[in-house]
Amino acid sequence: MSTAVAQHVDEVKTTPWSGGRSPFNVEYGKMMMWFFLLSDAFTFSTLLISYGALRFSAPTWPAASLVFQSVPFTSINHAPLVFVGMMTFILIMSSVTMVLAVEAGHRNSKKEVITWMLFTILGGLMFLGCQAGEWTHLHSEGFWWGHVPTTEKLKEFFASVNGHLPPGDQQVRTAHQFANLFFTITGFHGFHVFSGVIINIIITINVLIGTYAKRGSYLMVEKVGLYWHFVDLVWVFVFTFFYLV
């Protein structure tokens, strides 16, 4: 009896949560990337939720379909959602090429990883270009941090309720809130895209010089892939709450 108990105690446990093995079964860096993204998700949530709170408490708000109806770089003027739809498509597409790069990495196909990474970088740059165009357009209309268009111009951006536009002072106040929130949140997201492009370029250079071929694993591609998909994920929410709602 006593020997049986002693054997039981000495036995090396092999279940995941008993030590000696990784319970999550992922590499350290990948797990840390997940936890970083979790913290980043909180940051974006606080920004978007404070936007929601300010908008809920506002008596009126600039109508998205009136503010965002031009397509920068062209003369198209009354086409709501067309330009931002293109931006959304570009970012989803670059997420697809990223996951294709990860898939190629699992097959240790260096050539394919490079091709898909280059497409991903291109997508990121195109998105940044579009965002620069969007910002320039809004800035030319008179929106900026702490700046709104003239009272005359501002009227164009509000929908009338029962044939009446909201009072002028309400228009100015909520347009200020809209401008500050829009540039802060899309700016913070754009900065993430920018960082993502830089990181993707560094990883692509590493793939090119054969760092991961030597290591025998393209796990780094997977890790930056997580970050890149997260940037796409945030855009899905920014798109809904700024352009649709």
Partner: protein, 115 residues
């Protein structure tokens, strides 16, 4: 499970299920959901009256959460990770709901202050 098996898995991760065909399938799902959002925004929402209009924003939010699910589960591969990792990521996210409830409530109070 020998320790060698564990090392192989830790190095390569489990990549079951995400072949090229599946990746493109997820892409088409995401594109389709976005198209539905556009149809609602451009084709349906402008023609609705007050009561029916109240369903538009919840519809957008549900569609957005669907897109978020497909990105996180398949593109970020979370669906195929260990249950422990899934819980470690998803459960803290649920705290955000608390912040939404608190600030929504607060914003109603702000309206009363302004009026």
């Amino acid at each position: 499970m020998s320790s060698e098996d564990t090392d192989i898995h830790a190095e390569h991760g489990e990549h079951e299920g995400m072949d090229k065909k599946r990746i493109w399938k997820i892409f088409w799902i995401l594109a389709a959901i976005t198209t539905v959002e556009f149809i609602i925004a451009l084709g349906i929402a402008p023609h609705l009256n007050g009561t029916a209009h109240a369903f538009i924003n919840p519809a957008y939010i549900v569609l957005t959460l669907c897109k978020a699910y497909f990105i996180v589960a398949f593109f970020m591969h979370l669906k195929f990770e260990k249950a422990g990792l899934i819980m470690a990521i998803i459960v803290p996210i649920l705290f955000i709901i608390g912040l939404i409830l608190v600030l929504t409530n607060e914003s109603h109070y702000w309206i009363d202050l302004r009026l």
